[in-house]
């Protein structure tokens, strides 16, 4: 992956995932190593995403890299009408790698084609967010000791959630049994189910959250957004059906962990936070180590241990 862009989870193999996850473990053990002090990392956030940007900037800073960039297109030349190509070509003169978030789908692929330096996709519209997928894999592997043969439940908006799509596709490499919990309006699209079927893996669909909890190792929660419903009555009907409360975890397996890509709104009540099964804030922390691993891999820097 050295000098290559990371645009989509489809670009990398199972072998690549594992190399990144193994390296991320080393960074978790020792996250402050000045191995990137000769590098400049650009973070171009054409739409704001404070959480993702800070995670990347923390990852790069802890490894000694200098970080340049913008956090909102309204403060950059994009506002003056500059094309994406021109922005990328200009910034590539100033940096060794470009981390980019953009509201349009396909923007990261295009940027990677025009840029002389590698591009890391930090989210292109509703399309891809591969570093989120890798940090999810890392969190699952860390909490379950392995990625193989797990029962994983996805809850909420399975239709539009890009994190769900990428993670489901990545997990098809690990003999996962999928438990898909969503309102009928927001079921996992057939274009994603195709990957499960190709591998002959089991999947079960539910509309109720509670029945799935005792069966699974991972509960991957997502937010249901009101704007996904044409009729607000439909939204009112389902919005409370997928709220995880602490007492619902009583019959869960001991090894169960609750993941959420964050930000959470109300789909996990705060009383879950103190339950040892709640893992979403650790998950966010893991994001830093995984992004350090991705930066080091793409920049071709080895670590000593």
């Amino acid at each position: 992956m050295k000098n290559k862009s990371l645009v989509s989870i489809h670009d990398i193999t199972k072998d690549d995932y594992e190399k990144i996850l193994n390296l991320a473990e080393k960074f978790e053990a020792n996250p402050r190593q000045k191995i990137l002090d000769n590098f400049v990392v650009a973070t171009l956030f054409f739409e704001p995403s404070t959480r993702t940007r800070l995670s990347f900037e923390s990852a790069a800073s802890q490894l000694g890299a200098r970080v340049i960039g913008f956090s909102d297109a309204s403060t950059s030349s994009v506002k003056k009408g500059e094309s994406l190509k021109d922005t990328i070509l200009t910034v590539s003169n100033y940096s060794d790698v470009i981390i980019m978030r953009h509201p349009r789908e396909g923007s990261a692929r295009y940027a990677s084609e025009v840029s002389p330096v590698p591009v890391i996709n930090a989210g292109d519209g509703a399309n891809q967010h591969p570093t989120q997928c890798l940090l999810d894999l890392y969190s699952i592997r860390k909490t379950q000791k392995s990625l193989e043969n797990l029962h994983i439940a996805f809850i909420g908006d399975l239709k539009y959630g890009r994190t769900v799509h990428s993670l489901v596709i990545a997990l098809t490499h690990y003999n996962t049994t999928f438990h898909l919990v969503s309102p009928v309006e927001l079921k996992l699209p057939s274009s994603v189910k195709r990957f499960i079927k190709e591998k002959n893996l089991e999947y079960h669909q539910y509309t109720e959250l509670e029945e799935v909890i005792p069966k699974v190792d991972i509960l991957y929660m997502t937010r249901i957004q009101q704007e996904r419903f044409a009729d607000s009555l439909d939204y009112e009907r389902v919005k409370n059906a997928y709220i995880l409360k602490n007492k619902m975890l009583e019959n869960a397996k001991k090894n169960l962990r609750v993941l959420h890509p964050l930000p959470r709104v109300n789909e996990i009540t705060e009383d879950v936070d103190s339950n040892p099964k709640a893992y979403y804030f650790n998950q966010a922390k893991n994001g830093v180590f995984v992004r350090q691993a991705i930066l080091a891999t793409i920049l071709g820097v080895n670590i000593s241990n």
Partner: protein, 168 residues
């Protein structure tokens, strides 16, 4: 008049037996014949190939009898040989079409058009939020289903289906 007779005679010898009916719209000396176009796609083929904007002589026939298809359309373009990119366009709207290249009244190439594995420039991505619909970027697709014609955008990864396909 004599010259015209020779033309027809030559063409009859070189083209297959069913060509007699096509001669209703006359043979060409040099150029390309697009045959076996579904009648409903004839004008689409004209439009996407930009045939309405070139100075060449063009003969168009539609709803002609066809042994294979019942009815068919045919377009004959004098002194024009298509690039593969243009041929691909034909395959998308008229997958049954046959392309015949004629030089000096002789068929030098004849083949059914084929939907390629990749489509560049000619189709618009259906996704309104795709970067190709907002910046000056030539579109690129991977053909994921040739029978049902489904194109996956190389950039946004969304699938454009035949029913909603728009040409640039």
């Amino acid at each position: 008049m004599a010259k015209q007779n020779i033309r027809i005679q030559k063409t009859n010898i070189k083209l297959s037996g069913s060509e007699r009916k096509e001669l209703k719209v006359s043979a060409i000396e040099n150029g390309t014949v697009i045959d076996h176009i579904p009648p409903q796609s004839v004008f689409q083929v004209i439009r996407i190939l930009g045939l309405d904007n070139i100075p060449n002589q063009i003969m168009i026939g539609t709803n002609l009898d066809s042994q294979k298809f019942g009815k068919k359309g045919i377009i004959k373009v004098s002194n024009k040989y298509f690039e593969s990119e243009e041929i691909n366009k034909i395959a998308l709207v008229a997958p049954s079409a046959t392309l015949i290249v004629i030089k000096d009244y002789t068929v030098v190439y004849k083949a059914k058009v084929e939907i390629p594995d990749n489509i560049k420039k000619i189709v618009k991505c259906i996704n309104p939020n795709c970067i190709t619909n907002h910046e000056n970027i030539p579109t690129k697709f991977i053909v994921i289903d040739k029978a049902d014609l489904q194109l996956q955008c190389h950039y946004c990864e969304k699938i454009t289906k035949k029913e909603v396909m728009n040409f640039i």
